[in-house]
Amino acid sequence: MIEFMDVAFAHAGGPTVFAGFTLALEPGQLVLVAGGTGSGKSTLLATINGLAPHFTGGTLTGEVRVHGRSTREVPPRDMADLVGYVGQNPAHGFVTSRVESELAFAMEQRGVDPAAMRRRVEETLDLVGIADLRDRALDTLSLGQQQRVALGAVLTAGPRVLVLDEPTSALDPVGAEEVLATITRLVDDLGLTVVIAEHRLERVVHYADTVLHLPGDGTVVSGAPGVVLLGTPVAPPLMRLGQLLGWDPVPLTVREARRRARGPGGPLSATVSAVRDAPAGGALVLGARTSAAAPTSGTGHCVLRATGVRVRYGAREAVRGVDLELVAGEVTAVMGRNGSGKSSLLWALQGSGRRDGGTVDVRGADPATASRTLARTLVALVPQDVTSLLFCESVGEECAATDREAGLAHGATSTALDAMVAGIDRDTHPRDLSEGQRLALALVVMLAVPAAVLLLDEPTRGLDYAAKDALVAILRRLADAGTAIAVATHDVELAAVLVDRVVLMAEGEIVADGPARAMLTGSPAFAPQIAKVFAPSTWMTLRDVDASAVPEGAP
């Protein structure tokens, strides 16, 4: 039982995040906290075990009680046996270096009897399904495995409530499914209350009993998922589909939506035969994206040609002889499991990462051996952690430094930043920007010198839907101007609306390469929600459905 009694929270010297929040959450539920970037999701989660304000600073008024224990009276460390908390990057919270000792750490510190400790570690290993990883070093685990180890490490204290901050945002679709399956098992079997914050609502919303939505105006709206999220900017694609087609109640699962689509009044009830007969590639698809979907029809020519690229780390081969061509004006998604070699490939293509074999040719030059100034005009790479690119104390200084580096007129970068995202205060520290703003700044910094090829490594981690839409618009504009773009991503919904071509990697090799529509709708793991609903057809975005189901609205 979690009770919020007239809770308000304000950061030290900052604005109020939320106020007047009163709610009692029944035990045994899965509660989803939704909202845009910077709306205060993480802060709300941290109030449950008292990390906010005991650890983060700021002012909390009102009272938060978990099973009768108030965070007003008890510090977070004494809540550990009641509330298990896993932060955004679980790997940064690891204390030891091996799976088993990580699970035992908290109990060792509290002097739990060795026999009881042994039993509880064994139970937890099975509960989160990591018994086969027990002897592994933590830094050799995949992100999904690390997430499950972090879950296990807090579960050994025997909490009644689990608080998880974006547990699946860094994971590939399959890894995310595994983590979510573990979480739902904890809710079903142990009756734990789980509170999750997540950007990728499409992954979680159908498991949620209750949703807390933070619209960003200081209020918290709670209720059933289908009611609270409807019409909000954070609604996942399935809900938007339901809303577009006027379904009531809106579907939360793909199965539900599929039934509605084929039922009376559904878009497939009349056109289903036409859809089946449609040739692959999508004759039904209308709108601006059709021409781009067929790369050969464009004016694009090959800008980057890589042959036999190999990357080796010690005995492990991360990239095994990859051949890849990137075409001007085309956006390519590089997809695959965590650890399939996507990042290593991008870094090798850019030239500053390792490359143990093969050639990369961009406009007749090899970016790895070209001079620094020339290399920058060939390939630009926006790394996964963009903060490592930024080293000034304010956005304004960062822009000025970029001007100097790129030899631009003073203020050019600042103007470009405004064109991309308006209204960023130049005195803000880059680390204080929202994820979307920081990504925009990094893009502007990297593109100060126009490059023929732009590579992005996992750009949507931590971006909300609005920021993703903005990113899509920016990247499409760049592609239309003739840049060849490659994006390594797990985000299938982003891929569906952004890319022209999908390259699928596994074990360091390219296993499939083709037009986005055929690739995404044909793959079980990487299919967007809408493609799953309209399975035999090749619809995959709302625009496809809109254009076909509501023909009078189409151009």
């Binding site: 990390l51 650890f55 919270g93 750490f105 510190q109 739990v112 620094r372 920058r376 490592s388 080293f391």
Partner: protein, 363 residues
């Protein structure tokens, strides 16, 4: 057939001590071979040992190069180089066999110490060893565990930031270049430390909520005293630990400084042990348990015994003129001096021995 991590560290320290007791080049070379043999046979992953090998080799080479650059007078001339006068210093000149051999012996002594520590590091997980620290030193051992696990992350973040800086192109040198690396690394480290601290706080580190311990009632009686007594003597324990560390450092220095009397390192080591015992006795309120503690097995005793017997043979069974021979390349040996380093290599036979035992048990 597992060996307790503490056994490997004791073995390594005793072998390192043996090296300081002799300047016989042959004995020292045999000790190097013995250490390498044990690592090759017993380590599951010998990769970390490579670094120690490189450092040890570099030390030997540098010691010998010093003898070449700064000549010693007297002895058999081996090689004559033109002398370079640099102010008050005479560089190069005549290189004598004696100087070269004493350089080699000094270098080998250090190499044995380095390799012994490297072997212990390779054979026994430091984290495993820290886990077995007495409960009273829990605070100290936990901070060491975290430092050891988190430190590699710092190195990785330096690499990441430098790689990202290269993406921005442009040549940043001097202060500006340093700033472009240092600031993101420090910011990242601060962020990560805060995340770690938050995670530890959320996981109940430092919590004073009592956990029922069934063993308390029957075995220890009233083990847990009032929590207040721990705080009142808070300064005494760190002082003891610091004193112990200082004693060990002085003892190590004394081993290599011939001006110190021979009993000084022994006395200092004893003082260090006493200080550590005092530190563990000062805090009886600490509650900490060890998950799956390693048992002290028969092989552990064998490992320790091999080092102790080897040290005893060398110190008691070998006459001083053999232990510290005149500087010739091939000094005299006695049978015991030849066997002593080989006894220290006995743990290398453990894996084969355990395989043999298992096979016999099956048949």
């Amino acid at each position: 057939m597992t060996v307790h991590p503490a056994a490997w560290w004791i073995w390594a320290l005793v072998v390192a001590g043996v090296a300081t007791a002799t300047t016989n080049v042959l004995v020292l070379a045999l000790a190097v071979v013995a250490i390498c043999l044990v690592v090759v046979c017993c380590a599951q992953d010998a990769a970390p040992f490579r670094l120690y090998l490189v450092v040890a080799a570099a030390v030997v080479v540098i010691r010998m190069a010093f003898r070449l650059v700064f000549p010693a007078t007297g002895g058999t001339a081996l090689l004559t180089l033109p002398t370079v006068q640099l102010g008050p210093l005479d560089l190069f000149g005549t290189l004598t066999t004696e100087a070269l051999v004493s350089g080699l012996a000094g270098g080998l002594q250090l190499a044995v110490v380095i390799l012994a520590v490297g072997a212990a590091h390779t054979l026994a997980d430091v984290l495993d060893l820290l886990k077995h620290a007495p409960p009273a030193l829990a605070g100290l051992s936990t901070s060491l565990v975290i430092a050891v696990s988190v430190f590699p992350g710092l190195g990785r973040s330096v690499v990441d930031v430098r790689r990202a800086a290269r993406l921005r192109g442009g040549r940043r040198t001097g202060l500006r270049g340093l700033r472009a690396t240092v600031i993101p690394v420090l910011e990242g480290t601060m962020d990560r430390s805060l995340t770690l601290a938050a995670a530890m706080e959320a996981r109940g580190y430092g919590s004073r909520v009592t956990v029922p311990r069934p063993s308390d009632a029957d075995s220890r009686g009233a083990a847990g005293g009032p929590a207040g007594s721990r705080r009142s003597r808070g300064w005494a324990q760190p002082a003891c630990v610091l004193g112990a560390v200082t004693c060990v450092a002085l003892a190590a220095y004394g081993l290599f400084d011939s001006a110190w009397p021979g009993w000084a390192p022994v006395a200092l080591t004893a003082a260090a042990v006493a200080a550590m015992v005092a530190a563990t006795r000062l805090d009886r309120t600490a509650r900490r348990t060890v998950y799956r503690p390693q048992r002290w097995t028969a092989p552990s005793s064998l490992v320790v015994a091999s080092a102790v017997v080897s040290a005893g043979m060398l110190v008691l069974g070998v006459p001083p003129q053999i232990r510290h021979p005149p500087p010739v390349l091939l000094p005299d040996l006695t049978m015991i001096a030849l066997l002593a380093p080989l006894v220290a290599a006995l743990p290398a036979a453990l894996p084969a021995l355990s395989a043999l035992l298992i096979r016999r048990r099956r048949s």
